[in-house]
Amino acid sequence: MSESAAGSSLAGTSGRSVSPALHHQFEDIEQQREAGNFGMWVFLATEMLFFSGVFTGYIIYRSLYYSGFAAGSHVLEVDLGAAMTAVLLASSFTMAMAVHAARQGNRAMLLGFLSSTIILGIAFLGMKFTGLNFHPAVDALRGAPEHTVELFMCFYFFMTGLHALHMIIGIGLLGVMAILAWRGKISAEHYNRVEVSGLYWHFVDIIWIYLFPLLYLIGGRYK
């Protein structure tokens, strides 16, 4: 009995009340947050290996059929690719700001930045969709064997398609976060869900940071 009294007085003096957001298996909210982040990082490490399969295949076939890959790369619109990169980087910035707002407990700012991230993500996908409409002339292939250009296009569609799939999942995730924020379920104390969603979003951004030069800029664009 004296022990429990001492315990409660200790909790009282340290000013730490048990948060309703704290799950029972964790000591405190900080440990819970770190466990959440750790889980997302481990998932991202597996995602990295998942993507590295296609990247490894890309390296091998690019070195085997370089002329075909360079010709295929020149069919793509480099200006559009650069603009898509800028849009995605902007979405990463607004995502970082959303996590910042969540950490401050600023609901209006969080909602604003979450929705701008979603809009930028949709804009990226829309730009990708317009970029799919190409009909290269045979002389655009610059003498490279046609089937090697086709191989490049396979990699292009598969890598960007896989990336777009991750974007769609990310947009859905952020939509859920926006609903949670709207309902007031995100607080300065309990914002970990927004934080891990942000980690995922930035990871997808990093994949594109590599896809842009690897797909759009092969062999340079100089005459």
Binding site: E30, E34, N37, F38, W41, V42, L44, A45, M48, L49, S52, G53, F55, T56, I59, I60, S63, V78, G81, A82, T85, A86, L89, A90, S92, F93, M95, A96, M97, H100, R103, G198, L199, H202, F203, D205, I206, I209, Y210, F212, P213, L214, L217, I218, G219, G220, R221, Y222
Partner: protein, 99 residues
Amino acid sequence: MNTQDPSVGTYVFVFAVLLLLAALTTGIAYINLGPFNTVVALAIAAVKMCLVGLFFMHLWYSRGLARIVVLAGFFWLALMVSFTLADVFSRSWIKPPGP
């Protein structure tokens, strides 16, 4: 220590540098550097990845745990890529037996 919050100014600065690097990598593609076009493009991509990872993903401010996971991820990536490439590019070194 681990919850030090990067300021809004840091985010804006990192975003500006990222946009600059994206413009730079596109611009350099129009200059003939021979095989170094690819090297430079990948180097710029690596710098951009580090900026996003360190500041947007808070690795700069985090404790060791997340960093260890990232290093482990890169370690396995290096194993996978290097062993696969070692296989593919050394196949022609040994002639298959036969007539």
